[in-house]
């Protein structure tokens, strides 16, 4: 039995409606309401009775759960499955699946700064049949066969600083940024080039590739603004620039979760395409204020605001509703559109009542023509 037999038929009427709505921020339409994207991954599997591990171990099941739950929650008409820690296996890590976590490397593979020199950057040809891209080949073939209307080819550079740190250990990486800066840069360069080669595989197969790149570990809880510019933004730029040169893009999703108290200004240094969404998680302990996000970036990208993810596991939908309303009111006039998100991935055990409180707030405060 294929996984497609586990789900009811996809609702094409809903799809037409949500597709038109999802075009709003990109082509200046004002149809229905502001969209909600709670950055959902394994919650969809959990909501369908599967486990976090199932979501990552069985990509086809994982993405079909997402397509199903997106319809029920009235979210987006597209699907995105994310292999956490992309490209690490291709760089030599043994990945282990966990019951309650995304897959992680069994251990770091680089111990001394000198080890970075020996790290091999796989070519696009090597990556094509490697661990990470093989999962996407399988996954995208499944989506194109069973739920093609939801298909967007995506390639993940994800979080260069976080992935580099996973290769050598977080403490090591942080230390290297102070005392072994050449090794830290060389490692970031090698991870980034690997991710670029991955994006070229997607571009070659599909003619385009939405690029997802993040600054997660590189946030103000750990790094200074200067370090975030030098170690994170620089490689995010390089990822986009070189991926574009190989035919990936045009869509970009910049996911800057974590605390960007003052480092939010550093993202001005990113590369902007006509289809760019910028998402910032927190400013200090608070969800990043949407008015500041729009003021800083509203004329460069579609802004994605944040509701604190902690609220989604708290049994109080009214608090989620109020937090959503506040962000929507602050963001809904963004010149290039606004999407209500969560500060980071919505927790796997998020309460459906809380996510529905977000869409309810989008309806009450984000319906075009009502304000």
């Amino acid at each position: 039995m294929g996984y497609e037999e586990l789900f009811p038929p996809y609702d094409m009427e809903w799809h037409a409606h949500s597709t038109r709505r999802f075009a709003n921020p990109f082509v200046d339409n004002k149809y229905d309401r502001v969209d909600v994207d709670p950055v959902m991954l394994s919650h969809a599997a959990v909501a369908c009775g599967y486990t976090i591990r199932d979501f990552y171990e069985k990509p086809e099941l994982g993405i079909h759960c997402l397509a199903h739950i997106y319809q029920l929650y009235d979210l987006l008409p597209v699907t995105h499955w994310f292999y956490a820690s992309p490209w690490l296996a291709d760089l030599g890590c043994k990945m282990v699946y966990k019951d309650t976590l995304p897959p992680i490397p069994e251990s770091e593979i680089l111990h001394e700064p000198g080890d970075v020199d020996a790290l091999h950057v796989p070519s696009p040809e090597e990556l094509y049949d490697g661990w990470t891209y093989s999962q996407y080949k399988r996954l995208y073939a499944y989506v194109q066969k069973n739920i093609p209307q939801t298909f967007v080819p995506i390639s993940y550079g994800f979080d260069p600083v976080g992935e580099a740190a996973a290769l050598c250990g977080v403490e090591n990486f942080i230390m290297w940024t102070f005392v072994e800066q050449d090794a830290a840069h060389k490692l970031l360069e090698k991870f980034t080039q690997t991710a670029i080669n991955g994006a070229l595989c997607t571009a070659k197969d599909f003619g385009s590739a939405m690029l997802v790149v993040a600054s997660v570990l590189a946030n103000n809880d750990i790094f200074s603004d200067e370090a975030i510019r030098e170690y994170s933004v620089k490689y995010m730029r390089e990822y986009i620039d070189k991926s574009f040169r190989g035919g990936a893009g045009p869509q970009i999703f910049y996911h800057c979760c974590g605390n960007h108290e003052t480092s939010y200004k550093e993202f001005q240094n990113l590369i902007w395409s006509p289809f760019t969404v910028l998402h910032i998680g927190y400013k200090g302990p608070e969800a990043f204020p949407s008015d500041l996000l729009v003021q800083e970036y509203g004329n460069k990208a579609t802004c994605m605001g944040s509701v604190d993810t902690k609220l989604l596991i708290n049994p109080n939908p009214k608090v989620v509703y109020d937090a959503s309303a506040k962000q929507i009111i602050a963001g809904r006039d963004a010149p290039r559109g606004y999407i209500l998100g969560t500060a980071c991935e919505c927790p796997p055990y998020s309460l459906p009542g809380n996510i529905l409180a977000m869409t309810r707030a989008a309806k009450d405060y984000g319906t075009y023509g009502k304000w």
Partner: protein, 148 residues
């Protein structure tokens, strides 16, 4: 300038739906106005003709290396970074090093931002071939799909 095309370049120009006469016009206009980029060995010139902006890359002897186009209309450059990445291009009329910058792009009535080679002195912007034929072409396709 005596503009020359190899057979393979002629073929490429045809495949891209462009006209040889337009490419010649672009180069002659650039040469007479000095509005072009130069990297020491080749020139990049552009001109809006009808619904497209057409670009020609050619050397100082008039040998055309490539030509391509995009439909988006380029507008003002946008200030983004304090440390723009350098390019090998020089804006000839300003004698100014061009950098990788951000420029407003308008298509089907929608204005967004995109990467371009820009001269920060005169504010002019050029799209290189890889961007025009891949990223920008794909973006134009997405606009058409989403506007439909």
């Amino acid at each position: 300038m005596d503009v020359k095309f190899s057979d393979s370049v002629k073929e490429l120009i045809g495949e891209r739906g462009l006209k040889i006469d337009d490419v010649i016009d672009i180069i002659n206009t650039a040469e007479s106005s000095n509005r072009k980029l130069n990297d020491g060995s080749k020139n990049l010139a552009k001109k809006r003709i009808g619904e497209v902006t057409i670009y020609a890359v050619y050397d100082d002897n008039g040998n055309v290396e490539t030509a391509y186009s995009h439909r988006m209309v380029l507008g003002e450059i946008q200030k983004t970074t304090d440390e723009p990445d350098p390019t090998n291009w020089v804006c000839v009329s300003c004698n100014e090093k061009a950098v990788i910058g951000t420029v407003l792009m308008t298509y089907m009535g929608v204005t967004r931002s995109g990467p371009a080679v820009v001269c920060e002195k005169c504010g002019d912007a050029w799209i290189e071939e890889y961007l025009a034929t891949k990223t920008i072409a794909a973006a134009e396709g997405l606009f058409e799909k989403k506007k439909a």
